[in-house]
Symmetry: C2
């Protein structure tokens, strides 16, 4: 639920067609009795861009781009499960909170959709521009504004990446780090918008647990920081089946072992790691595998390792082994984190990757993973399962050719079935990728029309012209 | 911020004067341009009560009470910092979600304020009835609805107490517990409404981290559960000054020692514990003291204890000692938890306790506690400081006579100064007691009129007749 609602206030603003102007949006999810919002006409759109250039006090060359390649890069994503038609009509590159306010004020005046853009790594069309509008790219707002070491918090701009942030904290020898770790290219702004998690979620929770404060136009975010643990260890255990691996993971959680991270990969994903070569010369067994990260004081790390060894053995786990040094730890973990990129690298001409996630209660993890993997394998496509299983969350990634209608439809059915199965098990339609454009129907299945109407009422109270990233999460009721 | 917003959707419904009918509410915090809501007339109110009795299908004897003592008990609290004039005109005792829906539907139809009531232990007038209306007491809805051991979650009704819940989980030998521990009499419904914390917040976070789902009329709440830790230890350290104690606490947090709880008590509060006699025959030193709870595996508990010993020594901590057995651990902790009751027991005729809380970043803890204690001591009243210091949160409790105008005004100024000081230090006006009726002005100071207007817009979208606990957190803009 929070995954979805975080986005309401959040990150994601859309566009009003200079090139392909769909000025009259046709929102219709439920029977609509209120008139649809009308967005700016072509002429108004041009006037607005002029006004932004003038009010920001430059000739606008750096602030506003209407370069077609730029528009495409900001409205289409090759790793998104779905991409609506339509592109933004302009991309704005503000340098300050003031400039963001100016853009928002003028977009409000002219009724122009605004869509925020930070890392661009989201998977559900979160930054797409189905109704045109202005994409606001925060690329130039990537600084640390204020670091309060003693308070263990930090004020940052939205386009700082979580990895950059951690590198800077390490350079300052602060002993602190920001523990939320989604895809390597993700940035703070989008991480707020999707309430993302990552491998460390088992120990540290998700984005919502680490944001103290937001400036409303989302130029700054005050984040909490965690103390770097004294000791770290990474271990790997293999299993004869994905069900055994998932059952072992569930028992680790139910026993309350405070692992720092716990990831599942099926045999296909292990093959992808080997093919990617990131951990060469080491070659991993291509069987279902759990990855564990342990962190804390030295004694507690040892204790947690013994507990996990005992539990996994009870689920036919074998080959319990450790990354032998810090370098291997890092490589191993980065192999896991780059798995989507590794999959993308395996595509042949014309192929795409459909990557999506769900989450279920611990008691149903083994069931859903086993059934979903079987259905996915039956497609006869290259497909893998991996996930932040300590959070009840797992991802399916399928390589397919969107232009082959038959293939596309089969993949769509497979993904929808996975979502429906998760909901039947009292799970959620997305663990960490948020709703975006791609999972609006799934959200309706999950929460029902009444709750969606409540969410809509909240959005409308805050965004009466419905210009903040329209077309995402929910449509105008 | 979350402390405040949790209440918007939440718990807290108010009353429309059968006895003292203030039917036209005069909401005015800002210059009002919208007409104030109008609540039901006397006649409409009576009709509504009749309709509730009829639709719920009983003669209403058990469902609706208009007994004056009952109305007083549901509209006035002796431990609340402030109590507005006005009482509910009736108290409803629903037995099911359906009955709650019926009451809400009829109150909506007649524009009657509704105020929820569960444990009644809140401190900021949270369940008061400034505009009359119906108090909905969930006393008969105190059951566990469904326990999912393997998923580590539980569905409960709003009037189950957190202590009862834990006793039932212990009886079932589930190995699980619910870790949020506010005042002993608090119940789940109100705990959601105030987003409460408690001594375990350092390790387990606050209420918002443990609620998975709410039925919208708030009849059920699905809660997460935690695994009972293997080992537990409680320790006490004394300090020459409150500043030394607060500095030591801040360093424990900054070092990242994962203590399970860390509480501060000043010399006055230690005296209250001794006077209360709960830990007799043990008598505690009446000096500033930190209480620590350690939990986890045996080895990690030992490690954390050594770390804390080393840190507290560096801040002039001495007399580091442990509760010698489980009984003493429990007594010691319960002495801490019953401190408000112990204070109340010390009142003389006509006296009341003003108990309120703020929270600040770690780096300012020692400053604010030292200055606030000095100002409070200068009042010449019996006053103490204690708090969940691991959460940056502390409480002032002052015994005073409300009828002595001079005394009351001095206490008010002292409390307001503490809030203003916390805000200057980038803290928050309430750590865990929520805004309720008592801290509306403080919330305005903290977030400013724009943010309050946004919160109001959200409330109004969900509660257009402004009948859900009106007069709390914010007024109609």
């Amino acid at each position: 639920m929070l995954t979805a609602t975080a986005g309401i206030f959040g990150f994601g603003l859309a566009g009003a067609g200079l090139q392909q102007p769909p000025q009259k949006a046709t929102y219709k999810l439920f029977d609509s009795k209120v008139p649809s919002p009308q967005y700016a006409s072509m002429g108004q759109m041009e006037a607005a861009l002029e006004e932004i250039r003038r009010d920001i006090g430059t000739d606008g060359e750096d602030i506003i781009s209407i370069d077609p390649e730029d528009l495409h890069a900001h409205g289409y994503s090759e790793w998104s499960s779905t991409n609506p038609d339509g592109l933004p009509v302009a991309v704005a590159y503000p340098r300050s909170t003031d400039q963001v306010s100016t853009i928002a004020r003028i977009c409000h005046k002219y009724r122009i959709p605004i869509i925020p853009y930070s890392g661009g790594s989201s998977l559900e069309g979160n930054f797409s521009a189905p109704y045109g509008g202005i994409s606001v790219d925060f690329a130039y707002m990537d600084q640390i504004v204020q670091f309060n070491k003693d308070d263990m918090d930090i004020v940052v701009q939205p386009s700082i990446g979580w990895q950059d942030l951690n590198e800077q904290l390490a350079k300052m020898e602060s002993g602190l780090f920001f523990p939320i770790d989604p895809g390597p290219s993700a940035k703070i702004g989008g991480m707020v918008g999707t309430n993302c998690s990552g491998t460390n979620a088992v120990k540290y929770g998700t984005m919502k647990d680490w944001v103290i404060n937001l400036t409303v136009v989302l130029a700054d975010a005050t984040l909490k920081l965690a103390v770097v643990p004294e000791d770290l260890s990474v271990a790997v255990v293999t299993f004869p089946s994905i069900r055994d691996a998932a059952s072992a993971a569930a028992e680790v959680m139910q026993t309350g072992v405070p692992v720092a991270a716990m990831e599942i990969m099926d045999e296909v994903q292990m093959k992808v790691v080997n093919l990617g070569g990131a951990t060469a010369p080491r070659v991993w067994k291509e069987v279902p595998t759990l990855f564990f990260k342990f962190s804390g004081t030295k004694a507690s790390v040892q204790e947690h390792i013994s507990l996990v060894q005992r539990i996994t053995k009870g689920h036919k786990g074998s080959n319990f082994e450790f990354a032998k040094d810090q370098r291997e730890q890092k490589l191993l973990w980065s192999a896991r984190k780059e798995s989507l990129w590794s999959m993308l690298a395996l595509r042949k001409d014309g192929e795409e990757v459909w990557s999506t996630d769900v989450a279920v209660p611990f008691s149903r993890l083994a069931d859903i993973i086993e059934v979903s993997k079987k259905e996915m394998d039956d497609l006869g496509l290259f497909a893998s399962i991996l996930g932040h299983i300590g959070d009840g969350n797992f991802h399916e990634s399928i390589i397919y050719n969107r232009k082959k209608k038959d293939e596309r439809e089969k993949v769509e059915v497979c993904v929808k079935n996975m979502v429906k199965r998760a909901l039947e098990m009292e799970g959620t339609c997305t663990g960490e990728h948020s709703i975006g454009w791609g999972k609006k129907e799934s959200l309706l299945w999950e929460v029902g029309p009444e709750t969606l109407a409540v969410m809509s009422a909240i959005k409308q109270a805050l965004d009466p012209r419905w210009i903040m990233n329209p077309g995402k999460i929910m449509d105008l009721p």
